[in-house]
């Protein structure tokens, strides 16, 4: 019978040709021992390419399109809302239409809601079921947003998560956790930092971070830049 100890040791060390060509991982997969599901994704991807259903070019272009979107898009929306009260009113009433006014596409978002943080309420967004996130406005979510730790703790004790991220709220401020369980995507409108009177939209946009639009941070203050 084969030496089972050597076999399992070899599997953990060398993902790739040792387990057959179908499972040869692409260059961005091979730096850690692969899980069962990672091997399955790799095998399916290799099959799709081999059968000509998807080309390497199509995959690369789709990846580049995903990676081209950044939080700078959402920051433009926030900065415009800060300087233009009429725009802000339109944004709060019909977010998709208001975002499209700025030439930003929202066609993959079924319904967009922009909740406004005030001195009375602080919003923070999670998707406990999967990783729903306004990707067309923020790009891909960070790994922590998709973690069990975040999903559990933001429901069980949201203030402890906020404190860890540097957000300290008074007891009379309501924390409103938004669990995007369905077709709605949320982009939090953070509070405009004091000391920014007279700033241009472009300058204001530099204060708006991805984390502030998720709700785990405030916008940057002028003195912290």
């Amino acid at each position: 019978m084969s030496d089972s100890h050597a076999h399992s040791h070899q599997q953990a060390q060398a993902p790739g040709p040792a387990i057959g060509d179908l499972l040869a991982p692409p260059i961005d997969w091979s730096d850690h021992p692969l899980t069962y599901y990672e091997k399955r994704i790799i095998a399916i991807g290799n099959l799709l390419r081999e059968k000509g259903i998807l080309t390497v070019d199509e995959i690369r272009r789709a990846t580049e399109e995903l990676e081209a979107r950044t939080p700078a898009l959402g920051a433009r929306v926030v900065a415009r809302a800060w300087v233009d009260p009429a725009y802000k009113a339109r944004l709060l009433a019909n977010a998709k239409a208001a975002v499209e006014e700025l030439g930003i596409p929202t066609d993959t978002i079924n319904h967009l809601v922009v909740p406004e943080n005030t001195d009375k309420v602080h919003h923070v967004v999670v998707c406990t079921l999967c990783s729903c996130y306004p990707r067309q406005l923020l790009g891909e979510p960070p790994d922590w947003y998709k973690s069990d730790a975040y999903k559990i703790r933001i429901i069980q004790d949201p203030r402890s998560v906020l404190r860890e991220r540097g957000v300290h709220l008074a007891e009379d401020v309501e924390v409103r956790v938004l669990d995007s369980t369905a077709d709605v995507r949320y982009l939090v409108l953070p509070r405009r930092p004091p000391g920014t009177e007279g700033w241009s939209e472009e300058q204001l946009a530099t204060l708006v971070t991805r984390d502030a639009m998720i709700g785990v941070a405030e916008a940057l203050s002028p003195t912290s830049r």
Binding site: N110, H111, V113, T128, L129, I155, Q156, P158, R159, E171, D172, E174, V175, R176, V177, L178, D179, S180, T181, A182, D183, V184
Partner: protein, 92 residues
């Protein structure tokens, strides 16, 4: 298109545990909240997940709960809003 519930209505999430794909998290089932938004009508994801068209579209609500009620312990004035489809809600 019609909505059964109006903003301000008190509702309870049904304590059902069907098999298959649903978008109502287990932690909110049986809990009481209030309708705070009418988001529109969308194809039923429980059908879309199995390759069906999910039509006719069904109403989707923003439902807001006291976090203390959800957790069963004090949580200040903090609240939690989920987006729940109409067939998961009943009057409280």
């Amino acid at each position: 298109m019609p909505y059964r519930f109006a903003i301000g209505d008190r509702v309870r999430v049904k304590a059902l545990y069907p098999p298959g794909h649903v978008r109502t998290p287990v932690y909110i089932r049986g809990k009481q909240g209030v309708i705070t938004a009418q988001h529109g009508h969308f194809p039923n994801p429980e059908q879309l997940a199995y390759g069906r068209d999910g039509l006719p579209p069904i109403p989707l609500y923003g439902v807001t709960f006291d976090l203390a009620e959800v957790l069963g312990r004090p949580a200040g004035r903090d609240r939690l809003t989920l987006d729940i489809y109409e067939h998961w809600l009943e009057p409280a």
